[in-house]
């Protein structure tokens, strides 16, 4: 039996790196320190796998060879006028690098899951910036933690114990030294353990943030309630925020995907900026997929833009709403798609999914999904962080080298290697042209 220590968990944006994994006969037999999500992934990742490349002939998917599938994908991308490569938040940064080069080569669009999660947050960030910190700063200093439209107890189960609330830090003993405030429309698992729960009306985040800013700057709020919260309570909340020693505000899709979207995040950024005139306050999106931060980082340093990068003009172009995958599909503009480690057919709006399936569709994924079922070409890949190594970024940008603890199934390559083969084939095809 092999015991691997300090393994990085490839599930959520917490990227816990203290996992112990026991491996017997190339099977994970035991997982220590991980949360339920992490444990389940390490123990069950291998169920529902794709074992061979598939190609659609006469309407049904048939097993094919890797070489043939690679060629088909390359041909599909080279022949397309406006192809899109989408996904990568569950891939290593090495794979992202190859994908960017591939898209440059074919003159298409590269987009990642940010487009359907914290895309609005990025746009809010463009407007005002943010005061943020690494998670250890929160651990050591925060005496006030605010969760706005996020639910770490269920989505990032070890967030509190490792980084923010119950954890012991240099200047905080733990939970008893901190206060937890939850702002949400639902009484979530996190709300239930909070010291204070503020239940606002749906789609009223923007109003509430700005009411808080008004109260903070000692202006009069000229109504009785905002977002269903009485003004007195808002004023007292503003006072709590103002008088803490070090505050940390985590927000989720509950803030970035309700009415106002990017403007909500812009306002939160301004609220935190205002708070820094009184005390120390930081803001951070609670990112979901374990390496969605990494895709943004790699895209930003290679192309200048974190997501939705369009190379159809030869240079990188970025205009969310125009170059974002869902919007491209909605306008019925793309004529081929390569999906890497994502399941847009299941998650995108139905009309958009239909259009996606109506055009040539290739998927690189370790497991079966609705998208692989609808695809014309499917190439199985290994699980990064379990079956192959690679770099990933935590939600605060701290960088980890993920470990390989088991061998992938025979003839299954990492998505990095698959993408390299496609890139090589694309270059060869373009030379022939």
């Amino acid at each position: 039996m092999d015991i691997y220590q300090d393994v990085v968990c490839p599930v959520c944006g917490c990227l816990c790196d203290d996992i112990e994994v026991n491996v017997e006969n190339n099977r994970v037999s035991k997982v220590k320190n991980a949360c339920a999500m992490g444990t389940t992934k390490f123990l069950n990742y291998n169920s529902d796998r794709l074992h061979s490349p598939l190609m659609r002939t006469n309407g049904s998917q048939q097993p094919s060879s890797l070489e043939e599938s690679i060629t088909r994908v390359a041909e599909m991308l080279v022949n397309a006028k406006y192809p899109v490569v989408y996904g990568l938040a569950l891939s290593s940064c090495e794979a992202v690098k190859v994908a960017v080069e591939l898209v440059e080569e074919i003159g298409g669009v590269i987009d990642n899951q940010t487009t359907v999660c914290h895309g609005p947050s990025v746009q809010g960030f463009h407007e005002v910036g943010e005061s943020t910190a690494s998670l250890g700063e929160v651990r050591h200093r925060a005496d006030l933690v605010v969760c706005w439209g996020c639910n770490p107890v269920e989505s990032h189960p070890r967030h509190f114990e490792r980084y923010s609330y119950t954890v012991k830090g240099r200047f905080r003993k733990g939970k008893e030294d901190r206060k937890l405030i939850v702002v949400d429309v639902r009484n979530t698992g996190t709300a239930k353990i909070a010291d204070k729960f503020i239940q606002l009306e749906p789609n009223k985040d923007y109003e509430l943030v700005n009411a808080l800013r008004t109260a903070l700057n000692h202006e009069q709020i000229q109504c009785e309630t905002v977002a269903g919260i009485p003004v007195e309570e808002i004023e007292s909340l503003a006072e709590t925020l103002r008088t803490c020693e070090f505050g940390a505000l985590f927000y989720g899709l509950g803030a970035s995907h309700t009415a106002g979207k990017g403007r909500n995040i812009e306002s939160l950024g301004l609220l935190v900026r205002d708070l820094n005139n009184w005390t120390k306050f930081v803001l951070m999106p609670a990112r979901g997929h374990y390496n969605v931060t990494g895709v943004n980082q790699v895209c930003a340093w290679q192309t200048g833009f974190p997501y939705a990068v369009d190379f159809s003009r030869g240079y990188p172009w970025y205009n969310p709403g125009e170059t974002t995958f869902v919007d491209i599909l909605r306008r019925k503009e793309s004529d081929a798609s390569l999906i890497i480690g994502s399941d847009p057919v299941a998650h995108f709006p139905i009309g958009v999914s239909k259009y996606l399936c109506s055009k040539p569709l290739a998927v690189i994924d370790p497991s079966n999904s609705m998208t692989t079922m609808a695809a014309d070409i499917v190439i199985p890949s290994s699980f990064a962080g379990i079956e192959s190594e690679g770099i990933a970024y935590r939600m605060d940008g701290v960088t980890f080298s993920m470990k390989k603890v088991v061998e992938p199934p025979e003839k299954i390559l990492s998505d990095e290697d698959v993408l390299k083969l496609i890139l090589g084939k694309v270059k060869a095809l373009k030379r022939l042209k």
């Binding site: 910036g129 910190a133 960088t399």
Partner: protein, 567 residues
């Protein structure tokens, strides 16, 4: 590494080897300069009526890492002004003040630069920095991890454990693959993490019981003990504050007694931002005279400029409190990003305007410092890219240094009140080509301890830049525009013996190397320090010690520089 090259009849400026404008041939074989090569097998480059220098060496330029990338993400509007298509050789990219990594490499190379060091990185995020540098082609690179607000450092100093401190610094450099030690606003950033904006030089840093002066002295000694190739690289306290030249002088003077001769032991970086007189923003003035006087009279200190160039750019620094104050003043978007147990970071975009009194004084201050320090070997030419301006503006700065007329042209157009307070009109000094070769090549290489860079002597790395300037016909003091144009696009850039730029255009992409320092301390000391560090590591960080270490396999062309420590 390639075959042989002969550069024929170039006008050579190689100050390290006392060659000052002599017409001669330079021979290259297998990526190194050699005495001579067989002409039949060599590629000939006709450099007659052209200047030949070693490849440019930049001692301080923010080209990669978490804060640079955050600045890229922050400003899509910055990129739209300069969009680059993919070619057969080049990757696509963008970039004005924060270019994408590929563009950074290409642009530096087309200016004749071959070595660029990234000066401020949180050790915790070094894998990010290295990963970005891997994607920055054409250049040899290295990074300076930040230690000025590091908890371990402050604790070792408080407990007066100087040997353990040295061992810790050596371990960290090796673990995260850093090259030199950087301090940014020592003590001040730790205070800022509690929202405290200003820090006094001799007052203990909150909850740590050591003063910024002690941090400076302690780290200077540690660097000395470890025999690191580069001296202590310091961004002083009170940056960007009226009257801060006193702090700059105090900083340099605080380590004077540690100096025992030889190379400088402290490098004060981007002095322009740290050399103001006056007491407030209304009576701000240049304090360059005072700093220059000190640097002229002491040999333990070197500086780089951090020259301001009137343009739209981005300020980014590990000095979080400074960026907070800047944002309060100019009201632009603002990023602050603190790093646990180590350092902070701030970003604010800015436009330097000729009409603005403060900006005009900043422009004056940098040039005054460059012209008033007599020995060019103590000065490196930088803009603290992108803080003072993008590195692509270097040719402008070179023209200002070489031509009184070029400076006068700008001086006539800046804020009138600032103009009246400037000593520039009376500074007649004009840099020679040899001086330029010192401040952009030979000097930085010497300060960085790069024996094989910055000169054309036999055995050195064959990094060459050739500029289309005929010294017999061009007087840089008058025809500074010609110099500027030629310096922006080198006729040739040769990197490790390969022609990578021809006629100002990239012809080949090469990855470049990454240097880092491996300073060997005694085994016992290393072992005891490491076991103590391991025992408390999880109390300080949210990552495991094993995952903190950057593996060599993650580095493209990893090039360790081995030295032996005195402990």
């Amino acid at each position: 590494m390639t075959g042989n090259i002969i550069i024929r009849n170039g006008t050579v400026f190689d100050p390290k080897n006392n060659i000052n404008g002599d017409v001669m041939d330079i021979a290259i074989s297998n990526g190194k300069f050699v005495q001579s090569v067989d002409e039949k097998s060599a590629r000939l480059i006709d450099a007659s009526n052209k200047i030949v220098m070693a490849g440019g060496v930049d001692i301080h330029s923010h080209i990669a890492g978490p804060k640079v990338n955050m600045a890229r993400m922050l400003q899509p509007e910055d990129h739209y002004k300069n969009l680059r298509c993919k070619t057969d050789i080049k990757r696509a990219g963008v970039g004005t003040s924060c270019p994408s990594t590929f563009v950074t490499g290409y642009d530096y190379s087309e200016m004749g630069y071959t070595t660029v060091f990234e000066p401020a990185n949180p050790p915790l995020k070094m894998l990010h920095v290295i990963d970005e540098l891997n994607d920055t082609p054409m250049l040899d690179k290295a990074c300076y991890p930040l230690f000025g607000n590091n908890w371990h450092v402050m604790e070792y100093l408080k407990n007066k454990k100087y040997d353990e401190l040295a061992a810790y610094v050596a371990w960290t450099l090796k673990a995260v693959k850093g090259y030199a030690v950087k301090l940014v606003n020592p003590g001040g950033v730790e205070n800022w993490k509690w929202g405290v904006e200003s820090t006094l030089f001799d007052e203990p840093v909150g909850r740590f019981e050591v003063t910024p002066r002690e941090i400076l002295r302690g780290m200077c000694k540690a660097v000395h003990t470890l025999n690191l190739p580069h001296s202590l690289h310091v961004h002083a306290n009170l940056l960007g504050t009226p009257g801060n030249y006193e702090m700059a002088v105090k900083t340099l003077d605080s380590v004077r007694d540690i100096y025992t001769g030889g190379k400088p032991i402290i490098h004060l970086t981007h002095v322009q931002f740290n050399t103001y007189g006056g007491t407030n923003w209304l009576n701000l003035s240049s304090g360059a005279e005072h700093l220059a006087k000190y640097v002229n009279n002491h040999n333990h200190a070197s500086i780089d400029l951090g020259q301001v160039v009137f343009s739209k750019t981005t300020t980014m620094t590990a000095d979080g409190p400074f960026e907070y104050k800047l944002q309060k003043m100019i009201g632009n978007k603002w990023v602050n990003a603190d790093i646990e147990a180590e350092t902070g970071c701030g970003i604010v975009p800015i436009t330097y305007k000729k009409s603005n009194y403060v900006h005009a004084i900043m422009w004056i201050t940098g040039l005054e410092a460059a012209l008033m320090v007599d020995d060019p070997w103590k000065v490196c030419m930088t803009t603290d890219h992108p803080n003072g301006g993008c590195f692509t503006t270097y040719p402008k700065v070179i023209a200002w240094l070489m031509s009184h007329k070029a400076r006068g042209k700008v001086l006539a157009k800046i804020n009138k009140r600032a103009q009246r307070r400037s000593a520039l009109e009376n500074l007649d000094r004009e840099y020679s080509f040899s001086d330029i070769a010192v401040v952009t090549r030979a000097g930085p290489s010497r300060l960085l301890g790069l024996k094989d860079k910055g000169h054309l002597g036999v055995g050195a790395d064959a990094d060459v830049s050739i500029y289309d300037i005929d010294v017999n016909k061009i007087d840089p003091a008058v025809q500074y525009r010609t110099v500027r144009r030629a310096m922006r696009r080198a006729s040739y850039t040769i990197k490790d013996g390969e022609i990578v730029v021809k006629d100002g255009q990239l012809v080949k992409s090469v990855p470049g190397r990454i240097f880092w320092t491996d300073s060997k301390v005694s085994d016992d000391l290393a072992k005891s320090m490491e076991s103590e560090l391991r025992s408390k590591f999880n109390d300080y960080y949210t990552v495991q010690m094993n995952n903190y270490i950057v593996a060599e396999k993650n580095i493209v062309n990893s090039t360790p520089v081995k030295v032996k420590a005195n402990v």
